[in-house]
Symmetry: C2
């Protein structure tokens, strides 16, 4: 594995130097270099925060910006940020109206967020949380609480960030973000493993000619390993997992997000999107929003994820609102 | 190599279906499905066109949009579009004020563009061209005319597209695009090969632990193959090729573009950017524009390219102008 790094143990520090140098609109918190945020959160606005392991770029820090996140706690590669980093992100984002922490359902993140919320309360900062659990393949429908958060988090951040930008109070921001993730389902297909730089070898394996349906963002086991199939059949397999999990009827409108996992070319992501769109049309669903690209990755893993969100008038308004960030810019860019 | 495709011989058609489905603001030309453009070029504006082989996404078609390109001729993977596709792109983009064709210096593209320009002239369409030759490693300084065009083309499209959007006539658009590429130098480092789907195997090879400095976008030989070095040294090697090729003095301002070649994670692109920025600061150069991401790729090749543009007041104005496209959105998005 040939990489553009200085040392495997300092990839996060070095990346952050680059991100800050390339994006003057983002700054590190003076108290904690592992907290990145917009330079000046608006006074009186609800703060919107997330955090997560590195290696998923542009997630998580690439969604900091107007109309999206105010501050992001940055972890080591594929590891939760510390409780202190979440706390410092809350402190940075708080402008007196409280903080919405919108994060993914992983053991480390859950533990550290909970601890940070308590510490914040002791400092008089009101933090409420939404936990993303859009990865359908990670647990059964009756165990949704166990499911992991994956690329659907982008929709949660977009909805919560837009509600906050529109002047919603903390409960309103939490309600919008919760609705967005409740209306969202994702599934992934893995086509190759990836290697954490500090480990030096992959901790899972996908053979040439095979694919893993339902794989997690860190190579967590999916629902089955099969021979690779054409893109059309990949779309069908993914939608056959995602759609039955919804209450979703013909004539409804959805948002579709296709993300590459890192090394799968944009060409192939569009090929998958074409097949997904064709099949959704057959299912009588219309597509109101479309996102295609390396939006939530896992280092140089090959593969794709599909995220479908059931839209209502509120979600349509929130998804259409302007935003500007490394990962997503829409409308007039706020 | 596990891919998300239906058939290796139809990746371009299938990708185009996906691009058109995902981006209603883009349409295929009714006469030629290999010509993609903005739905409604503005009347009376100079048309701005490019074309090139597929597999470099978001280049080339991902730079069609307001403030950038009006129409793009789409080739097979790593192959020039046909002369007819260039001609149809000219016809589509022409709104009576002529067409600027801003393309890269490759044998097939040169031949087909020249043929298309003649055919267009016979139809009364005035086409003038700029040929990008920013890849410093592809030929010596006294043979600049032989150099290939790589990611520096994005700056050429941005400058020409902005000049056209500002109402410049054909000569003004050509002059701005020519200046942009004359002020631009690029170099690449390859860290792995890539495979054209229809071939099924890589037509070049980079060993684990080795890198190729000066590699071309299709694996064309670079200036040397060495053991991999830390990112800091990669930045130094690249700048030591790029900077001496310029007339560039301390105190001047530049634009820096770092692109991943496909499979190199965004994390690593930012690590390289940090080192490039640090070294440019040491050289007394300030950075006016910064672009980091998978902006001009080569399928799933690992590696990075660095593009430096020497800025003057005109280029600063043109680069800052608004634009909106898959690959690049700036300002209010036009």
């Amino acid at each position: 594995m040939n990489r553009v790094i200085n040392h495997p143990d300092q990839v996060v520090e070095d990346m952050l130097r680059g991100v800050l140098a390339a994006h003057p609109e983002l700054t590190a918190d003076p108290r904690n270099p592992r907290v990145i945020g917009v330079a000046r959160p608006a006074r009186g606005k609800v703060g919107v925060v997330t955090g997560g392991g590195s290696g998923h770029e542009p997630a998580f820090l690439g969604y900091a910006g107007p109309g999206l996140l105010d501050a992001v706690a940055v972890g080591e590669v594929f590891s939760s940020p510390t409780a202190k980093s979440f706390l410092d992100a809350f402190r940075r984002a708080d402008q007196g109206a409280g903080v919405a922490c919108l994060y993914g359902n992983y053991a480390g993140d859950n533990m550290n967020v909970k601890m940070a919320v308590k510490m914040a309360a002791a400092q008089g900062i009101d933090v409420k949380t939404v936990v993303a659990n859009d990865d359908v393949a990670s647990a059964g429908r009756d165990e949704r609480i166990k499911r992991r958060g994956v690329a659907g988090e982008i929709l949660m951040w977009k909805a919560g960030g837009a509600r906050a930008a529109l002047g919603g109070d903390l409960d309103a921001v939490i309600a919008s973000a919760q609705k967005a993730i409740d209306h969202t389902r994702s599934v992934g297909i893995g086509l190759s493993a990836c290697t954490i730089p500090a480990n030096g070898k992959a901790n899972f394996h996908i053979a040439d000619g095979e694919m893993e349906l339902g794989i997690g963002h860190h190579g967590e086991h999916g629902v089955k390993v099969t021979r690779t199939v054409p893109a059309k059949d990949m779309a069908a397999l993914m939608l056959d997992i995602v759609l039955p999990d919804f209450p979703l009827e013909r004539g409804e409108e959805v948002s579709v997000l296709v993300s590459g996992l890192g090394a799968t070319p944009l060409m192939e992501q569009y090929i998958l999107y074409a097949e997904v769109a064709a099949r959704l049309a057959e299912a009588g669903l219309s597509i109101g929003f479309r996102f295609v690209g390396n939006l939530f990755t896992s280092l140089e893993m090959m593969g794709v994820t599909l995220t479908v969100t059931r839209l209502d008038d509120e979600l349509k308004q929130l998804l259409a609102a302007p935003c500007r960030s490394i990962g997503l810019t829409m409308g007039d860019g706020a």
